[in-house]
Symmetry: C2
Subunit: 274 residues, 2 copies
């Protein structure tokens, strides 16, 4: 999916919500655990319920990998289901990959050719040749970690160099030599709301993937105030706050309610840039 | 495997060689491609041939993931085979994972509980809570990226802070607040030979995992000169230089020859610290 198509979806649906499919076998409703394929069944129900309110889905690979072959099959089924039933939804594999060139090339082949996913989260630590192989695919996206939503983001990302430039700022700047606003987004945590103003001085036109609204405590309004640009420029992710809002038989219905609530808040924010 | 056991293996076998199982379906010998399970068959032959000359194996997850479920099965079979037939070999999953706390916990569970592997490579960019979940397992290891062997390592790892401390040095220092020489190693590329002296001032007693000897151009002698400590303190990895040394029917035999050559060079280096 290219940038224009993504923006079109956002304004058509009045939503820039990404639903994170962090599907944990230990957290899904009891009645599903007896099914033959509980992870996929859970995802399918969540997707069917929330699709009207979101523009993207983000399966988190760790949760699928933790179940070995069974988990990987559930991941593949989820992607296939999305591509078949909801082809207008943007699919992000949250895998935070990044390795030397020939290995990154293998990861790129996996996610962009085999699974034909739209975007992959990538870690910047290893630099240019670890990121570039992901940028060689048309209408596919690297979502590079810049300033993450966790406490540990202070350990290295905020380190200032001799000129007072912080590491995440250096990542934002340097990576623009490798990609552009049509094939690169950045992860910026919602818990860092006040930082968005600074971040927009470096990447005014790029899309930002924003985790941390909800369970991690970030505020949607603050993110929009400082982070939104005139094309929206945001994909705001919520995982636990939606998919585990209920663990009863009404889990999908409750997920839809939570997604709709966020979508309605997003519609208000989108009105402001119309 | 704990540090003492690893050191014992190194001195018993006069080797600190790690064989990288970067098994690419496109690069294995033609005659194997017709088999039902070419990746595992290739690995099994390489392992049987090289086991006398190495102390560790390092499957690179990217290569297995690129084949989807089939690849994951081959990875699992390889790990099972190693654990059963060569229980004294140290197994490193080269996956370069790292995510927010609850996600890193899932990855830790996968690699240390499900697969029961000895060590996992981890990326430091997201800081403390992305690394700590991997340190909660007895006799399991985090191998944290410090200074990698690729060209892109210059982009961020070499960035100096206000006090002239480079990012990789900060990673070495900061991470010692989280783990110790009994549960943490560092990736330091062999292509950065002259840097080992500096690195040893930060981590004199830690093991270092050293990729980049061979195909990437690093020198074993230089790495040993500057990086070896009195317990050896090195695991030197070679992947392509061993496993693809021949792509004929003699591939395993040739891999053994290459591994033996390295082992013999290593024996000479180990003599020096006896």
């Amino acid at each position: 999916m290219n940038k224009e198509q993504l923006i079109k979806q956002i304004f058509a649906k009045k939503s820039f919500l990404c639903v994170g499919l962090d599907t944990d076998i230990k957290k899904i409703p009891e009645h599903l655990k007896e099914s033959e394929n509980p992870i996929f069944d859970f995802n399918k129900a969540i997707i069917d319920a929330t699709a009207p309110y979101c523009v993207a889905y983000k399966p988190n690979l760790a949760f699928y990998e933790s179940l070995g072959v069974k988990g990987l099959i559930a991941f593949e089924q989820t992607v296939e289901y999305l591509k078949k039933e909801y082809p207008e939804h943007f699919i992000i594999a949250d895998a935070k990959r990044g390795d030397i060139g020939n290995t990154s090339k293998m990861y790129a082949r996996t996610f962009f050719e085999e699974y034909d996913i739209d975007a992959l989260t990538v870690a910047p630590y290893m630099g240019e040749d670890s990121v570039k192989p992901f940028l060689e695919y048309e209408d596919k996206w690297v979502i590079l970690l810049a300033l993450t939503s966790n406490k540990g983001s202070n350990d290295f990302q905020m380190t200032e160099d001799k000129n007072g430039k912080r590491l995440f700022e250096k990542v934002l700047e340097k990576s623009q030599e490798w990609g552009n606003e049509d094939n690169m987004m950045y992860v910026v945590g919602a818990t860092q709301g006040s930082m968005f103003e600074n971040i927009r001085t470096h990447v005014p036109h790029h899309f930002l993937l924003v985790p941390g609204v909800g369970a991690q405590g970030g505020s949607l309004q603050e993110v929009c105030k400082y982070g939104m640009n005139n094309e929206c420029g945001l994909l705001v992710n919520s995982s636990r706050g939606i998919i585990y809002a209920s663990n009863g038989k009404d889990f999908a219905e409750t997920a839809a309610t939570k997604a709709k609530e966020l979508q309605e808040e997003m519609a208000v924010e989108l009105e402001k840039i119309k």
